[in-house]
């Protein structure tokens, strides 16, 4: 991206980092001012805990979650590719992603880690979450497998008989 650096500043201090767009600087300064105003209040309680959560959330996502699901996806793609079934990737990826997404969002309920407070606060049974998630996952994977089988059958029917 081309950056226009004022000629004067380059001549005077050739090795200094350029400032960049003044409009952008002004905008970011306003943003930081507001973030700092709220941030002081956010950090008023458990300062270290909150800072850890915010920075940790970004790091955990970028350095753990993304690599993990990327590696899993790559393993599936390569495995199917090695078996000569690269075209099947989506039939595994789609249900796995959807099922994983539900698990990620509802992990406290599905894993049973909030069973006790959940039951005593709401008078509802916490037992069904794992079962329902497993059933939804079964439907997703089963549906995907059925769709693949149906497409394979249709492709086989349309193939000329000589290729059998």
């Amino acid at each position: 991206m081309p950056h226009r650096v004022p000629l004067g500043s380059v001549l005077r201090r050739p090795r200094r980092m350029p400032l960049g767009s003044p409009l952008q600087l002004l905008l970011l300064a306003c943003s930081f001012a507001l973030a700092a105003y709220a941030g002081i209040r956010l950090l008023a309680g458990d300062r270290l805990g909150v800072a850890l959560w915010i920075v940790g959330a970004a790091l955990l996502h970028d350095l753990v979650l993304v690599p993990l699901y990327s590696l899993a996806d790559r393993a599936v793609t390569r495995g199917l590719g090695a078996a000569g079934r690269r075209g099947w990737t989506l039939y595994a990826r789609v249900p796995a992603m959807l099922s994983g997404l539900l698990l990620l969002v509802w992990f406290p309920l599905i894993s049973g880690m909030v069973d006790e407070p959940y039951r005593s606060a709401t008078n509802l049974s916490p037992d069904g979450f794992l079962t329902r998630w497993l059933l939804i996952s079964a439907v997703l994977f089963g549906g995907s497998a059925l769709l693949l089988a149906w497409r394979l059958r249709r492709a086989a029917k349309h193939r000329p008989p000589a290729s059998h």
Partner: protein, 410 residues
């Protein structure tokens, strides 16, 4: 792996042919609208608590100018808080796949070298930490709170409220800096080379549109398995994984959703026994003590009102019956000019065991000290012997197990 495996700092490390300005821009524009709605409905929810009325309603008393927009929360339409908070929580959950996809689409930029090309660029990257960290913090605290998983470092209200402002500050700057580029990219008018496009694309397994369908499918699945807990009625069964989905707690007239049971709140049968329980009503003409039987002898009125929780779930309208709050105000010297009221519960702990209602809420003829619901005496879990029910107010302001009402300007 052949010869030298590239590092994440090398553009060749990132091989997905999906990444590029079009995908990032489409996802970004969806979030631009979605997160704006989340922020506004979040601010509205704060206003719905009437935090300016009394310190007991305000979990963020140090808000300063961040409360600039506060207004007296109205009592109608009765489904107002159901709608705004249902949208806030359901939309937030629905946007999670979009947020994750957006972050995935720009993850190579995390590793861009040199770390900064200019002072402005360096500051922008710091701002991006607040954007990503703050955004994930908001979504995470929200998702954990609705599942009663209170593991975050502090009370939910200040964390989610101040966190929202930190996040939104970074979000505004990001939107101002990037929206023009995003609009050009989705219109196909972006002709600059983008660092998001990999120089070493792997063979595609899905098209960009296909990837977008997948993200949309994830959102749809989350939406369909969640929204029923806010719609209530027969739709509750469809909310397969939402905390207040699938089932109601027991049957009968009192078999609708409970936020906190009597046992959870530490209310015992001895506390609410007819011999022990008295409602203490105080106002400018003095104090009146009423047993439940005496309350039943006052004029009884009905109102069909929902319960709507900050956690996003709500119930259909329930048919409440009891004494109007303004009639109770009249008992203690406020005949025709009902003031604010300070409500105290038998509950010994919990943030909202005391709550304040504004004069407009007390004056509404549908605002009741309810004694029965759907034709039956209130159950212990729904606030027996008596509870507050006010149209359009957040659930926690509908105090259960009421012990004392103090009328007067707060």
């Amino acid at each position: 792996m052949r010869d030298h495996p590239p590092l994440p700092i090398s553009p060749g490390f990132w091989r997905s042919p999906l990444r590029g300005p079009w995908l990032t821009s489409v996802l970004g524009l969806v979030l631009l609208i979605g997160i704006t709605v989340l922020f506004v409905t979040g601010l509205v929810s704060y206003a719905a608590y009437n935090p300016g009325l009394s310190p007991v309603n305000d979990q963020t008393p140090d808000k300063g100018v961040l409360g600039f927009y506060l207004f007296a929360w109205p009592t109608g339409p009765v489904w107002l808080y159901r709608l705004t908070q249902g949208v806030h929580v359901t939309l937030g959950i629905t946007l999670i796949p979009v947020l994750l996809a957006k972050l995935w689409s720009v993850v190579p930029r995390l590793f861009t070298l040199p770390p900064a090309r200019s002072v402005a660029h360096a500051l922008e990257r710091v701002s991006l930490l607040l954007l990503v960290g703050g955004g994930l913090f908001e979504f995470t605290t929200g998702v954990l709170n609705v599942q009663l998983d209170y593991v975050f470092p502090g009370s939910f209200y200040p964390l989610h409220f101040y966190g929202a402002w930190v996040f939104f500050a970074a979000f505004l700057a990001h939107a101002a800096l990037r929206t023009p580029t995003a609009l050009r990219a989705v219109r196909g008018r972006l002709h600059e080379q983008s660092d998001l496009v990999t120089p070493r694309p792997a063979p595609p397994t899905v098209s960009r549109r296909g990837a977008l369908w997948l993200v949309g499918g994830g959102s749809l699945l989350l939406f369909l398995t969640t929204v029923g807990q806010s719609l209530g009625g027969p739709f509750r069964r469809t909310a397969l994984l939402a905390p207040h989905g699938t089932a109601d707690p027991g049957g009968g007239p009192n078999g609708f959703q409970i936020n906190k049971t009597a046992a959870y709140a530490g209310i015992t049968a001895a506390d609410t026994h007819p011999d022990a329980w008295r409602l203490v009503v105080t106002g400018r003409s003095g104090t009146v003590r009423l047993s439940r039987a005496q309350l039943l002898q006052l004029p009884q009125h009905s109102a069909s009102l929902p319960i709507a929780c900050v956690e996003g779930w709500s119930t259909a309208d329930q048919w409440w019956r009891g004494v109007r709050l303004r009639d109770l105000a009249a008992l203690v010297g406020y005949d025709g000019d009902p003031p604010d009221v300070f409500v105290e519960s038998l509950q010994r702990h919990g943030a909202f065991r005391r709550a304040a209602l504004r004069a407009n809420q007390v004056a509404d003829e549908r605002s009741l000290l309810a004694l029965s619901v759907n034709g039956e005496e209130l159950s212990p879990d729904h606030g027996h012997p008596a509870r507050i029910i006010v149209p359009a107010a957040p659930g926690v302001l509908n105090t259960k197990w009421v012990a004392r009402l103090t009328f007067g300007d707060l």
